[in-house]
Amino acid sequence: MKEQLQKDFDNTIKNLTLSQRDIEIKKFYLDNFINKGFPNRKEEDWKFSDLNQIIKKNIGELSFYSDYTSTNKVDTSAFVDGLEHNKIVFINGRIEKIDFDYEKKDQIEIIDQSETINKFNNNSSLSDLNSAFTNKSFKIVVKKGYQLTKPLIIYHTTNTKIWSKNINLRLNFELYENSSLRLIDLFRDTSEKNFLNIFYNFDLKENSILKNYKVDKFENKNIKYSFNNIEQDKNSISETFILSSGSNFCKNEINCNLNGEYSSAFVNGIFSINNNKHHEIRTIVNHLTENTKSYQLIKSVLEDSSRAVYQGKIFVNSQAQKTDGYQLSKAILLNKDSEFNAKPELEIYADDVKCSHGSASGSLNEDSIFYLMSRGLNYQQSRELLINGFLLDVVEKITDPEVKNLVKNMIGIKE
C-alpha cells in the first residue's frame, strides 16, 4: 500500500498549487498515515469494527488518486422534490455546485480553503489520510443573526466511473451569534466498493443552532466513514440525526464539545440494516462547563446477518457541575445471525450531575405480535407495525417538521 500511497500522493500534489510549506505539511500527514495504516481492532475505538479488515475484504487494493480536472454533469432529476433547498453537490468527491439561491447573498460567505491546511483536532489515522489527500475544502460562514430560510442539502453522489477509490472530503462551517443552519447530508451512490472519508467541522457561536441530518438510505456497496466535530459556545444547540441504512459499511462519529454554559447537544440515530451490512455510530459528548445538556437515542432494527455497533461516551470534567446527560440505545434482532454490540460509557469527574445510560437488545416481543394478530392483522403487518412504532420514536425527535416529513417518506413510516 505504501508505494501506491506515495505515487497517488505525488499525482495529487501535481494538480494543486500549494506552497512548499503546505506540501511539507501534507507530506507529514501522509507519513503519519503510512505509519499507522487503517485503524484495526487493536484500537479501542475500532474494537467492534475492524476497518482494515473490512477494506481488505470488500475492496482489496485502494487507489487514492482522483482526477478532478474534468467536470461531471449534475443530474438535476436526483434533487429532492417538494422541498425548496440550497445545494452543495459532490460527484465522485468533486465539488460541482454550490448554490445558496434562497438566501441573502451577503449573509453567507463561502471561503475556498483548498490551499490552506487546517489541522483537524483528531488524532486518528483517518484524519491524517483526509488531511493528506483532500483536494478542495470550503468553509461556509453564516453571518451574525442570519437564519437560513431554506435547508441546505449536500448531495454526496457517486457513480460507476469510480471503482476501488478512496475519496476524502472536508467542510468547515462557522455559525456566528444567533444564526441557524439546517443541513441535510444525502448519500446517493450507484458506485461500488469505494471508501469515502468525510470530515466536517462545525463551530457554533453563542445562541446559534445547527441541525444536521445525515441520511444514508440508498442501497450501495461502498464503505463510509464520517466524522463530525462540533464546538459549541454558550447557549448553542446542536441536533444531529443519523439514518444509517444503505451502505455496506458505515461508521458515523460525532464529537461534541460543550464549551459554553447552557449549550446542549442532541444526537439521535437509526440503524435499519440487512444482509451482511455492518454499521456503527460512535458519539462522544464532552461536557466541559457548567449547566450543559446532552441526549442520545439510538435505535436499531437488524435483519439477516447484519451487525450494528453503538459506542457512546459521555465525558464530564470537574468544572461541569449541573450536567444533564442521558443516553439510550435499543436494538431489535430479527434474525439469529444478526448482532448488536454496545459500549455506552460514562466518564465523570464532577459530583453534582445527572447522568445515566441504558442499553437493551433483544427480539421482537411475541406477545405484542400476538395481540395485534388477535386484532386481525397478519404476522407480517404486525411485525411492520411494531418496527415502525419502534423507529418512529427516533424520527419524532427531529425538530424540523419539513425534514421530519422527508425522512418519514424516505423510510416509509406511516403514522
Partner: protein, 480 residues
C-alpha cells in the same frame, strides 16, 4: 511513648495496619526458574505441579504487562520481589493448633479471626493464610464427616492429586493473561474446597488472607469444586499492614460448578489502601473466574471492595451449562487516592442462561472508580437473559466515577438490558435526614447504606454487619 502514640494514631485510620514481628523463611529475591523450583521444593510438590508452574513461567516470559486499565501505576519490578515468604515456625507444619506459633494465633485474634476457642460460635470454617502459607484450618474433622474437603491447596496437591490435576487450570489456564500466568507460575498457597455430590455444606467456608512480610508479593490460589447437586458458600477476607511501599497481590480464584450445583463466593476486601496522600497500599490484581460447567448450575459473586491502593479485577462467570445462572453483586468504595477498575464478565454459552449484575460504586476524596463489564451472549445461547444495573455515587468534585460496559448480543432470542446512573447524594435527602435529628455524617452513612443495600443483602449475615460498618469507616472524613 511518642512512637506508641504515633502507632495508635495510625491505626485509627486502618485498624489492621499492625505488623507481626516474626521470623521468615524467604525465597531468593527475584523471579526465575530457580525460584519456582525453590517454591515447588519447599512445598514438597510432585513433578506434575512443577511442570505446570514451569509451563506457566515459559508463557509468562512471552507476555507483556497490560496497560489498558484506567488506574495507572508505576512499573513493577518483578525481579525486586520475594515470591515466597513464610513464618519460620511453619517449616515443619504443626500437627494441631496447640503447636502453632503463639504470635500467629495472636495476630489472627487481633484481626478478629480466632482460630482457637470461640471458633465454634462462629460456625465458620476458616483457612488462615499468612503471607505464602496456610497456617491453620479450623473445623476440618466436622467437614470431613460429610466428605467435604477443605484444606490448603498445597496439602490438596499432595493428598488429592487427582482432583487438583483435573480442575486446576481448567478455568484459568496457564496460558491466560499476564497476572494470572504469573500466579500460575509462583502461587504459594490458598484454599482448596471440594463438595461431594449432593452435599449441602453445613457451614460457611472461609479463607482469611494476611500479607505481613514486606517486599513480598502474595500469590494465592483458590480452587473450589462443587460436585453435582451440592451447595457451598465461601467467604474471603483480607488485610495487610501499613507500609510505605506498594505491595502486589495477584491471586487466582477458580470455581467449578457441576450439574445443579451452586457456589456463592463472597469477598470483603480490606487490604491496606495507602495513607491519605496515596502513599503505599496494596495493588490488588486478582483473577477470579467461575465456570458453570453443568446444567442448572449457579455461581454468585458478591464483593465489598473497600481497601487496596489499586483494585483491578473482574470476577467472571462462564455460563457453559444449559440453564445456568451467574450473578455479580458488588460494592466498591474508594476514598483518598484509591483507584478501582472493577466489574465482571458474563459469558453466555449455554441455552437459557441467565445473569444479573448489580454494581454500586462510591467514590470520594481524590479517588477514581471505574466499572468495566462485559456481557457476551453467543449465537448458541438461545433464550438467555442479562440484566445489568450499575450506579455510581460521587462525593466531592475531585473524584471520578466511570462506567465502561461492553455489551455483545449475537442471539436474536436473547435479551440484554443495561442501565447505569451517576449522581450525588441530593440536598433534599440530606436535609430530610438532618431534620429528623441525624448529623450530616450519620445521614450520609444512612443514605449510603441504603444505596448499597441490594448488595449487602447478598452477604452472609456475619459478614453483612461487618461490611456495613466497613462502608461507614471507609467514607469517614469525606463528608462536608
Amino acid at each position: 511513648m511518642d512512637n506508641r502514640q504515633k502507632e495508635i494514631d495510625n491505626l485509627k485510620d486502618y485498624k489492621y495496619g499492625f505488623t507481626t514481628d516474626i521470623e521468615n523463611t524467604r525465597s531468593p529475591k527475584g523471579l526465575n526458574e530457580d525460584v519456582i523450583r525453590f517454591i515447588s521444593k519447599i512445598k514438597k510438590e510432585p513433578q506434575w505441579m512443577l511442570d505446570f508452574r514451569l509451563k506457566a513461567y515459559e508463557r509468562f516470559k512471552q507476555l507483556k504487562e497490560p496497560d489498558w486499565q484506567k488506574p495507572k501505576y508505576p512499573k513493577i519490578d518483578y525481579q525486586d520481589l520475594y515470591y515466597y515468604s513464610a513464618p519460620k515456625s511453619m517449616k515443619d507444619k504443626p500437627k494441631n493448633l496447640d503447636d502453632l506459633d503463639p504470635k500467629l494465633l495472636e495476630t489472627y485474634k487481633k484481626l478478629g479471626i480466632p482460630l482457637q476457642e470461640q471458633k465454634r460460635l462462629n460456625g465458620i470454617a476458616v483457612d488462615a493464610v499468612f503471607d505464602s502459607v496456610s497456617v491453620a484450618t479450623t473445623f476440618r474433622e466436622e467437614l470431613t464427616k460429610q466428605g467435604i474437603i477443605f484444606c490448603p491447596i498445597s496439602e490438596a496437591i499432595q493428598n488429592y492429586p487427582e482432583l487438583v490435576k483435573k480442575y486446576l487450570g481448567s478455568v484459568i489456564p496457564v496460558t491466560d493473561h499476564f497476572f494470572a500466568t504469573l500466579n500460575s507460575a509462583v502461587f504459594t498457597d490458598g484454599s482448596f474446597a471440594y463438595i461431594p455430590e449432593g452435599v449441602r455444606c453445613p457451614m460457611e467456608l472461609s479463607t482469611y488472607f494476611r500479607i505481613n512480610a514486606s517486599n513480598t508479593g502474595q500469590f494465592e490460589r483458590t480452587l473450589i469444586v462443587a460436585d453435582k447437586g451440592s451447595y457451598v458458600s465461601y467467604l474471603e477476607g483480607c488485610t495487610a499492614p501499613m507500609r510505605d511501599e506498594n505491595q502486589l497481590h495477584a491471586a487466582n480464584v477458580e470455581l467449578v460448578a457441576l450439574d445443579d450445583a451452586e457456589i456463592k463466593y463472597s469477598t470483603v476486601q480490606n487490604w491496606y489502601p495507602g495513607d491519605k496522600n496515596g502513599k503505599g497500599g496494596i495493588y490488588n490484581f486478582v483473577t477470579k473466574r467461575g465456570l458453570c460447567k453443568g446444567k442448572n448450575s449457579k455461581i454468585s459473586w458478591t464483593q465489598v471492595e473497600t481497601g487496596s491502593a489499586i483494585t483491578w479485577k473482574y470476577p467472571s462467570c462462564i455460563l457453559k451449562g444449559d440453564n445456568s445462572v451467574g450473578e455479580f453483586y458488588s460494592i466498591a468504595i474508594t476514598n483518598n487516592h484509591q483507584k478501582a477498575d472493577t466489574g465482571t464478565k458474563m459469558i453466555h454459552l449455554g441455552k437459557n442462561t441467565k445473569s444479573k449484575i448489580i454494581s454500586k460504586g462510591i467514590s470520594a476524596g481524590f479517588s477514581d472508580m471505574t466499572y468495566r463489564g462485559l456481557v457476551d451472549i453467543s449465537s448458541k445461547a438461545t433464550n438467555s437473559n442479562n440484566y445489568t444495573q450499575c450506579d455510581s455515587l460521587l462525593m466531592g468534585n475531585k473524584c471520578g466515577a466511570h462506567t465502561v460496559p461492553y455489551i455483545k448480543n449475537k442471539n436474536s432470542e436473547s435479551n440484554i438490558a443495561h442501565e447505569a446512573t451517576t449522581s450525588k447524594i441530593s440536598e433534599e435527602q440530606l436535609h430530610y435526614c438532618q431534620q429528623r435529628g441525624l448529623s450530616a455524617e450519620e445521614a450520609v452513612g444512612l443514605i449510603v447504606n441504603g444505596f448499597c443495600k441490594e448488595v449487602l443483602q447478598q452477604l452472609p449475615m456475619e459478614f453483612a454487619v461487618e461490611a456495613q460498618k466497613l462502608v461507614g469507616i471507609s467514607l469517614e472524613g469525606s463528608v462536608g
